[in-house]
């Protein structure tokens, strides 16, 4: 556990104390949790995609969220931050399992 949380990733104190280069390297090697990665889009994931596991879910959500983001920006939104839906979290958890 750490008192330094970056986009859902806990940076160990030992890394933090080593300096910003170490922090950047650590974060580059540590992807954020699925819910954080897709906090900017809420997507219904089909059951057949869920069955394929996290990799398939990530790819599906990436594509869908990107499309939704582009649409929101096209509609004049300055930002497109939307809380991830419980269904996505549940789907991701099921996919991980």
């Amino acid at each position: 556990m750490s008192g330094f949380l970056v986009d859902g990733r806990a940076v160990p104190l030992q890394v933090e104390a080593t300096g910003e280069a170490a922090v950047a390297a650590y974060l580059a090697d540590t992807p954020p949790p699925l819910a954080i990665r897709h906090a900017w889009g809420a997507v219904d994931v089909p059951a057949d995609v869920v069955a394929q596991g996290e990799g398939a879910i990530t790819a599906f959500v990436d594509a869908a969220a990107r499309e939704a983001l582009q649409q929101q920006l096209a509609d004049g939104g300055a930002t497109a931050t939307v809380a991830v839906e419980d269904a996505l979290l549940a789907a991701a958890a099921e996919g991980d399992a």
């Binding site: 556990m1 949380l5 970056v6 104190l13 104390a17 950047a24 906090a39 900017w40 930002t79 931050t81």
Partner: protein, 339 residues
């Protein structure tokens, strides 16, 4: 003839340690504490003052002391909080970042494009607390300490002023001061923009007390106390054992122009101790150049005391507000948000 030591030059270096008391090799080029706006106070003290009990037998006098042991320092640093003016990141912070970390606050960083922020809130039990290594230059001398923890934070300002942050730290001093010529400390640079940026003023900011947003605020004074207690001496070295944080106490005094009781009845709230479910006090208004105390939600604040005051001919309320966690296990009584 030797030139006198002067009190004009000063500076400080501060960095987070990997483990408590482990220290950091501090460098003037990389660890400068920006916006230190006045001479730091340094008080050297000892866990054991060397006193002996009893008296001498032959002359009715006190016994002389033995050497003092367990040297520690209490450092009071007056700083201003500045922001980078550009988007925050995992490596770009406000100027007070390390001080807030040493004050027992964890930081939650959001790097979502367009809404980057750092939120500092009390560290939960079980999470490693950050401590620091501190070097203070003053009076032509250098003072070094490790295992440095924040003891108190006071933030205060009158409207229109740049708030003054007074941070009191305590740390282990394994050695005493040494003579040194004030070095050139490097401020600013990549990801250190806040060290050179002008800090925001307390104006055009939002103050919210419950559901009420007073239009005019005369002044505020916010305090965070960690009630540090010392640990025993290190048996093997005789060095000071460092400090353990205690119960947090957070309060804010704010003097506002008195408004309609229908908007906020502080007398009733003082009597009933009904919680203010929202409290925030924002300094500055421009993104990446503003910060706020509290949060619009999740706060549990109560008015401890209300006093009638005056600002010229204008009636004011001086409110003292205490901040409490929302549940027995949450650590959400206060937050400091830079966004």
């Amino acid at each position: 003839m030797t030139a006198p030591k002067d009190i004009l030059g000063y500076g400080a270096l501060f960095a987070i340690e990997a483990s408590y008391g482990g220290g950091v090799v501090l460098a003037d080029a990389t660890h400068g504490l920006g916006h230190l706006v006045d001479l730091p106070e340094v008080n050297i003290d000892y866990a054991h003052p060397g006193d002996r009990s009893g008296r001498t037998g032959g002359n009715a006098a006190r016994t002389r002391r033995v050497a003092k042991s367990g040297r520690f320092g209490e450092f009071t640093l007056p700083v201003e909080a500045a922001c980078p003016g550009v988007a925050y990141s995992a490596t770009r912070f406000p100027s007070v970042h390390n001080l807030l970390r040493a004050l027992g606050l964890g930081v939650t960083t959001v790097t979502t494009g367009g809404s980057e922020s750092h939120t500092y809130a009390p560290t939960a039990f079980g999470v490693a607390r950050a401590s620091g290594a501190l070097r203070v230059y003053k009076h032509g001398q250098r003072f070094d300490a490790v295992g440095v923890l924040g003891a108190t934070l006071v933030i205060e300002a009158e409207s229109g002023e740049v708030p003054r942050w007074t941070v009191t730290l305590r740390g282990i001093m394994s050695s005493g001061p040494v003579d040194i010529t004030l070095p050139v400390i490097t401020y600013g640079g990549a990801n250190r923009e806040a060290e050179l940026a002008l800090p925001p003023k307390f104006e055009a900011g939002l103050v919210q007390i419950g559901t009420w947003t007073p239009l005019r605020v005369q002044s505020f004074r916010h305090t965070l106390e960690l009630n540090l207690t010392p640990r025993r001496l290190d048996n093997s070295t005789g060095a000071h054992g460092g400090f353990t944080p205690g119960i947090r106490e957070v309060s804010t005094e704010v003097t506002v122009e008195a408004g309609p009781l229908a908007s906020l009845d502080p007398y009733q709230l003082e009597a009933s101790q009904t919680v203010l479910t929202a409290f925030q006090l924002q300094v500055g208004s421009t993104q990446y150049n503003r910060w706020r105390i509290g949060a619009p939600t999740l706060q549990t604040a109560q008015i401890r005391e209300v006093e009638d005051a005056a600002d010229g001919n204008t009636a004011m309320w001086a409110l003292t507000i205490d901040h409490f966690p929302s549940t027995p296990t949450a650590n959400d009584e206060i937050s400091y948000v830079f966004n």
